[in-house]
């Protein structure tokens, strides 16, 4: 990771609210982060932690109503994505920012050929001619490791296996040389051996193309393997952020620590009993004024209910949002 590189994407104080019957759900509650050129930022969290909604807010992909982005700035270069008009946003999506969705079954259109779907962004964003777009599509399919690329352009998505479909999705996302690639649980629907193939592919593509990647997942193992930095989300906010080795070696937030402990290991001694995080995941930010983890936290005290902790710096690039000081072992 290039140190001190300029951030390509800077998100500050992003708030997204869903209006529902009987109130509001604070799905993203003051999220700030930045993404530097060429780095891979892993975003971990359970379902309902707000990780996908955060990324969808960036690109205005949420249906409104009920969703409403209420606050914040999202700087891509020198433009604020929350302020640009719909037409500009359209050119940014799939252009400067690529998006890979979780489920390759449902995110490809079953009635168009794979070739058409890869060529579509090339023709609309880059204005390539049909023949040029086709050549580029073949190049892209070869890049993501699909054999016999030229003849497979004529195939429909159902003729591809799950892993191959995800490769097609990656090819589409890469079509216009994005500066930022957002991958939302790209390997969750795949088997482990296929996941290993996709992870290798991403590592390889990063070296070749050097774009910045945001990788959303709930699997800490995947993050450990590929990310430079990791951001842990819980209840719609960032609870810890730091370099991946640092966070895994010295997790500072009680939630990160608990999450690492609950996972059974593939090597070493077998635990007789798994450590658990008691309780249930939070009802998405109904009480934005208090810490979302307090009901399940072993260290919770009265301040946690009264005041939502702000993120404080622990070391270089490592910060945590918790009132409890894990190093001192006291509040």
């Amino acid at each position: 990771m290039p140190d001190g590189a300029v951030p390509v994407l800077e998100v500050k104080d992003l708030k997204t609210v869903f209006r529902v019957r009987g109130g509001e759900i604070h799905a993203v509650n003051s999220v700030s982060f930045d993404l530097r050129a060429g780095e891979l930022l892993g975003v971990v969290g359970e379902s309902g932690s707000g990780k996908s909604v955060t990324m969808m807010s960036l690109l205005d992909l949420l249906p409104s109503p009920p969703a409403e982005v209420r606050n914040g700035t999202v700087m891509l270069g020198d433009r604020d994505l929350l302020k640009v008009d719909a037409e500009t946003m359209r050119s940014i999506r799939g252009g400067e920012v690529g998006f890979i969705f979780q489920d390759p079954m449902t995110s490809l259109n079953p009635v168009f050929t794979v070739g058409f779907q890869i060529m579509e962004p090339l023709r609309s964003h880059m204005g390539l001619s049909k023949a040029k777009a086709r050549d580029r599509a073949v190049e892209l399919l070869e890049l993501v490791g699909i054999p016999d690329a030229r003849s497979r352009l004529k195939d429909y998505p159902h003729q591809f296996s799950g892993g191959m479909r995800q490769r097609v999705m990656i090819a589409i996302a890469l079509a216009c040389d994005p500066k930022v690639l957002i991958a939302d649980e790209p390997t969750t629907a795949l088997d482990v051996t296929i996941q290993a193939q996709i992870l290798e592919l991403i590592k390889d593509l990063r070296q070749k193309l050097g774009m910045a990647i945001i990788w959303i997942t709930h699997d800490l193992g995947v993050i450990a393997g590929i990310a430079d930095r990791v951001m842990v989300m819980y209840g719609g906010q960032v609870v810890e952020q730091g370099p991946v080795r640092e966070v895994f070696a010295n997790p500072a937030h009680p939630y990160t620590r608990a999450l690492l402990q609950t996972m059974p290991k593939l090597h070493g001694a077998r635990e007789t009993k798994l450590r658990v995080i008691e309780g249930q995941p939070p009802m998405l930010g109904r009480h934005p004024e208090s810490c979302p983890f307090r009901d399940r936290c072993g260290h919770a005290f009265d301040r946690c209910a009264a005041e939502n902790p702000a993120r404080r710096q622990l070391g270089e690039n490592h910060d945590v949002a918790c009132h409890w000081d894990h190093r001192e072992g006291k509040p």
Binding site: E46, S47, S161, G162, G163, M164, D191, V192, T193, I194, Q195, A196, Q197, L199, E200, H218, D219, L220, G221, V222, I223, A224, G225, V244, R245, F248, A249, A258, L259, L260, T262, M263, P264, K265, L266, H267, R270, E271, K273, L274, R275, V276, I277, E278, Q280, P281
Partner: protein, 352 residues
């Protein structure tokens, strides 16, 4: 080791689903979802079944409980051949064997209350008075950690982990001996998975249950299982005690599968030389000739494309089906086959 009682004995179980086609809708082939598996499950133990999607692990679990009519093979549970039993006889045996399903959302009737769901097996199989049933329902809710006050609520009011508890309570209602858990934690969040697995383990101890635990999560299977069977394309390629399987995998597929699991440890994850399998699992309607794994195996030999390997016992209780192991037997000779074999695999891994 003391002689343990075999609770479940499965021999050469086959489950083929016919494919019909053409104008006359004649059968033109079959999806060989499970193609000849044999295993035993001892009383009180947990047998883990692992494999990728489409390898036939769930079909195998369902066929063992005769939720499918198996194509061939015998299934003996508690001394009774389940495969040939008539419907009425089978119904009487049902209380002994139960199932916990993958998706707690889909496997609970949204129009029934929790008490109704947990009590349904009791309605079906006992003639207890209302009060006694209700007591049993409360007892079960306590056992799986559900609040009694919620008995009259509907499934939608519960979170995923709690719903899975309802499914487990229903499976326990009739005091079963044997429970097939089909991916019971796959639909749950990481922090909830551990809760459900701990619950299953506590219940096993409390009621002396025997589990067949089907999962694609190798780390979780390592935690919960006593012995593990690895399936690939309808057959068991390796079956061994958990320690042996994870420390000294004999089959190249097991090895690749273990190496593909991402580990939550950045330094280990990067150091490790991964075995990345090429290609995808072939269709079970048209499996390759010879060994099922020959299309993706990094150590494939000529013989693998011709002759299906036989399952052999490479160490006490450790079964594997691979031609590499035959070769060791003829050339190696002097014991320690497993370690020699592994040594070679490691060297090959480094070369690659």
């Amino acid at each position: 080791m003391t002689e343990r009682r075999k609770l479940v004995e499965v021999r050469d179980l086959k489950m083929h689903f016919p494919i019909f086609g053409g104008i006359l809708r004649r059968q033109k082939g079959a999806v060989k979802a499970v193609d000849g598996v044999s295993f035993d499950i001892y009383e009180g133990e947990t047998l883990g079944i692992v494999g990728e999607s489409g390898c036939g692990k769930s079909t195998c679990g369902r066929a063992v409980l005769r939720l499918y009519e198996a194509t061939a093979g015998s299934i003996t549970i508690n001394g009774q051949d389940i495969a040939t039993l008539g419907q009425e006889e089978l119904r009487k045996r049902r209380p002994m064997m139960q199932m916990v399903f993958q998706d707690p959302q889909a496997s609970l009737n949204p129009r029934m209350t929790v008490a109704g769901i947990i009590g349904e097996p009791l309605d079906e199989h006992t003639d207890w008075p209302r009060q006694k049933k209700l007591e049993r329902i409360y007892e079960l809710m306590d056992a799986v950690g559900l609040n009694r006050d919620f008995a009259n609520r509907y499934p939608h009011a519960f979170s995923g982990g709690q719903r899975q508890r309802i499914g487990i309570a229903r499976a326990l209602a009739l005091n079963p001996k044997f429970i097939v858990c089909d991916e019971p934690i796959a639909a749950l969040d990481v922090s909830i998975q551990a809760q459900v697995v701990n619950l299953l383990e506590e219940l096993q101890e409390q009621f002396n249950l025997t589990y067949m635990f089907i999962s694609h999560d190798l780390s979780m299977v390592r935690h919960i299982a006593d012995r593990v069977a690895v399936m690939y394309l309808g057959v068991i390629v390796e079956l061994a005690p958990v320690q042996a399987l994870y420390d000294r995998p004999m089959h190249p597929y097991t090895e690749a599968l273990l190496s593909a699991v991402p580990e939550p440890d950045p330094s280990a994850a990067r150091r490790k030389d991964r075995i990345v399998l090429q290609g995808d699992v072939p269709s079970p309607a048209n499996p390759p000739k010879g060994c099922n794994f020959c299309t993706r195996c990094p150590k494939v030999m000529d013989i693998c494309r011709e002759v299906p390997p036989e399952t052999r016992e490479v160490a006490p209780g450790h079964f594997a089906a691979c031609h590499l192991l035959d070769q060791d037997q003829t050339t190696g000779g002097t014991g320690g086959r497993g370690s020699e074999h592994n040594q070679r695999l490691i060297q090959q891994g480094e070369d690659a």
